[in-house]
């Protein structure tokens, strides 16, 4: 499989996960099951995740490995801020706080430190292009995404971006899911909230029988209550997944906080979904968005990692056909760009 194919799978998976998860954002897993059973069909467009990822990719295409935080801050000042004339749709606290900091004349890393959402998943949601750009080199992907992250995030928000970029860089080589998760952990300190959450989530998946059931079906065994479907995927019913969904929430979901975009949590849940899905794009993404919370970002991260591993054809055609050029509703500067074109630009020269 070529890097171009994997780049396309990655960004298409990101866009599909973003769009699939959008209506499930901030819903409880129980409410998601009540409304959709398993949420498997894209209902509308994507959100800020896809548009910011396209923007990040455009920075990489322009600056390559020489990208610096100053370049990123300059791009915010020249390409994002002048177009913010009214409400900034889809933007999270970290983007808005960063823009206020830049308007005050601050420079990175203070721009990512002075607002209080430094640990948001705003970098993790757009980190995948950095992994695409550094296939097989998680450390370099993490170094590069940190240049971007220092503008808008701090602490665990930067680490969330590093983990996702590292995971995608590993998945770009076709590494097995366990190795991909190990790559994510390899680029962040073990003594961090993000690492602790990833390890907790991984342990929950390892201890659950959802994965064993899937592997059993893939091996040809018939497991009662679960149906094998063509292509090696496994239709696991919502009820079967309930214990692992609850255990994942118990393990990493922040309890006494009303916002759901906490990077350690979102990244850990996305990687857990990827392990539950065994790398398969559809299983990974549908499980990821079934977790609720920041479902569009969880779907985007999970879809990007799985898509990098499986390539363009790993993303279900019915999803791919729903992904058109972005509208620029969150970031006008990227209006009209299609993730497949962006993927081709990123892959050029790899």
């Amino acid at each position: 499989m070529t890097y171009r194919d994997r780049a396309r799978g990655c960004l298409l998976g990101l866009a599909a996960g973003d769009a699939l998860g959008a209506p499930a954002e901030n819903l409880t897993p129980a409410e998601i099951r009540r409304r959709w059973g398993r949420l498997t069909e894209i209902e509308g467009g994507g959100t800020d995740d896809t548009e910011y990822a396209i923007f990040a990719a455009s920075l990489l295409v322009r600056h390559g490995h020489a990208l610096t935080s100053a370049d990123v801050a300059h791009a915010y000042r020249t390409e994002i801020i002048p177009l913010v004339t009214g409400p900034m749709r889809g933007a999270g606290f970290s983007e808005l706080g960063t823009i206020e900091a830049l308007r005050r004349g601050l420079e990175p890393p203070l721009t990512g430190l002075v607002h209080q959402h430094g640990w948001s998943d705003g970098l993790a949601m757009r980190a995948a292009p950095y992994g695409v750009f550094c296939p097989g080199d998680p450390a370099e992907a993490a170094r590069l995404v940190e240049q971007d992250g220092r503008v808008s995030q701090s602490g665990e928000g930067v680490l969330g971006g590093r983990a996702v970029a590292g995971a995608v860089a590993a998945a770009m080589t076709g590494a097995a899911p366990q190795e991909v998760v190990a790559a994510a952990l390899s680029v962040i300190p073990a003594d961090s909230w993000t690492a602790r959450d990833i390890v907790r989530a991984r342990d929950v998946v390892r201890a659950s029988d959802v994965v064993r059931a899937r592997d059993a079906v893939r091996g040809g065994d018939v497991v009662r209550g679960r149906d094998s479907v063509p292509g090696g995927q496994v239709a696991v019913s919502g009820d079967d997944e309930l214990p692992v969904v609850e255990a994942l929430h118990q393990a990493v979901v922040v309890e006494h906080y009303p916002w759901t975009d906490v990077a350690p949590e979102a990244v850990a849940l996305a990687l857990a979904a990827y392990l539950v899905g065994g790398g398969d794009v559809e299983t990974t993404v549908t499980f990821g968005v079934s977790l609720g919370r920041d479902a569009d970002t969880i779907g985007a991260i999970a879809g990007a990692i799985a898509g990098a591993g499986q390539g363009r054809d790993g993303v279900p055609e019915r999803w791919a056909s729903r992904i058109g050029p972005v509208t620029g509703k969150c970031l006008p500067v990227v209006a009209g760009r299609h993730v497949l074109d962006v993927a081709d630009e990123l892959a050029e020269g790899l």
Partner: protein, 322 residues
């Protein structure tokens, strides 16, 4: 004099806590839940009817005492800190886990959840969405007044700017108790706040704009413009409240009566900036410099966050400690 200044720090915090508008909301939790539900419905009514008559906490069929001017969350958590200060901090907090009758900031609630799950300090304060808030900075007033290190306590509930806020408050209060000088207190705080952190950057910026404004009330719009981005939904970040307290205390020359009202005018920070400002200026001027009427109103705790604090007298607590 230093005994008077120690008492000034504690009572000053209670006075500032009482002066901010959120105090009445905290204290209204002593009313029946339906009372607060009605308040939320009146808020919706104002929105739906487009009337600018906004509801305030009210006492329909409820005792009116909780809505009188008085201390709330910060004074109670400071009192709890005083009462438990000789115990290992994680152990003192662990006693609170599982209790459903207490109220605390998001950082503290998360830390208690972490402790219950076996996540120990410093991770309990670090793996925490509000690690940056000023819960530990409030408690640090007790450590600073008594000349003790707040680190072990702060790390249970906070990290990064939240921890630095505690170190800065302890240093500033210790200096104010020792010398009575607000400028020296601000200097002591700056010495523990690295300039490349948000709180360190903001502390220097706040002092700069407040000095240019010349007096505390004049500094209010400048502090708002320089420090508050009005993006986030909560206003208890140590990187905002501690710098505002330092700046207002200094530019007021340590006068509580000048500094605390200005802090209360920064509506977004009014939950804790007045309390921290009151602690610093109370320590500078001592108990004798605090207006008698404010002492009377602020010295008795309501028990709105920690029920066992209901009726406790802040000055008596201090005397027992001494």
């Amino acid at each position: 004099m230093s005994g008077d200044r120690i008492a000034g720090a504690f009572v000053g915090l209670a006075v500032g806590d009482a002066a901010g508008w959120p105090a009445a909301r905290h204290r209204s939790v002593l009313h029946a839940p339906w009372s607060r539900r009605l308040l939320r419905e009146l808020d919706t009514f104002a929105e739906e009817h487009r009337v600018t008559t906004l509801p305030v906490p009210f006492a329909l069929n409820q005792p009116v005492a909780p809505l009188a001017v008085g201390p709330s969350d910060d004074a109670e958590w400071l009192a709890w800190t005083v009462l438990t200060i000789d115990r290992p901090r994680a152990e003192a907090f662990r006693d609170l886990t599982g209790r459903e009758d207490i109220r605390a900031r998001i950082s503290v609630a998360t830390a208690l959840g972490n402790l219950a799950k076996g996540v120990e300090p410093p991770a309990s304060g670090h793996d925490n969405p509000h690690h940056f808030d000023d819960a530990a900075a409030v408690r640090a007033v007790a450590f600073g007044a008594l000349g003790r290190d707040p680190t072990e306590d702060a790390q249970v509930t906070n990290a990064n700017d939240g921890l630095l806020g505690a170190l800065a408050m302890a240093a500033a209060v210790a200096e104010a108790v020792a010398t009575g000088s607000a400028a020296a207190a601000a200097g002591a705080a700056l010495a523990v706040l690295p300039p490349d952190t948000a709180i360190g950057h903001n502390a220097r910026l706040a002092l700069d704009v407040a000095r240019k404004a010349g007096d505390p009330f004049a500094a209010v719009p400048a502090l708002d413009a320089a420090l508050l981005d009005h993006v986030y939904s909560y206003g208890v970040g140590a990187a905002q409240t501690v710098p505002v307290a330092l700046a207002l205390a200094e530019v007021a020359g340590g006068s509580l009566s000048a500094a605390v009202p200005a802090a209360a005018c920064l509506a977004a920070l009014a939950d804790s900036a007045p309390a921290l400002t009151g602690a610093l200026t109370g320590a500078c001027g001592g108990l004798d410099a605090i207006p008698e009427g404010w002492i009377t109103s602020a010295r008795t705790l309501a028990g709105c966050c920690l029920p066992e604090m209901a009726g406790k007298d802040v000055i008596e607590l201090m005397e027992e400690l001494a």
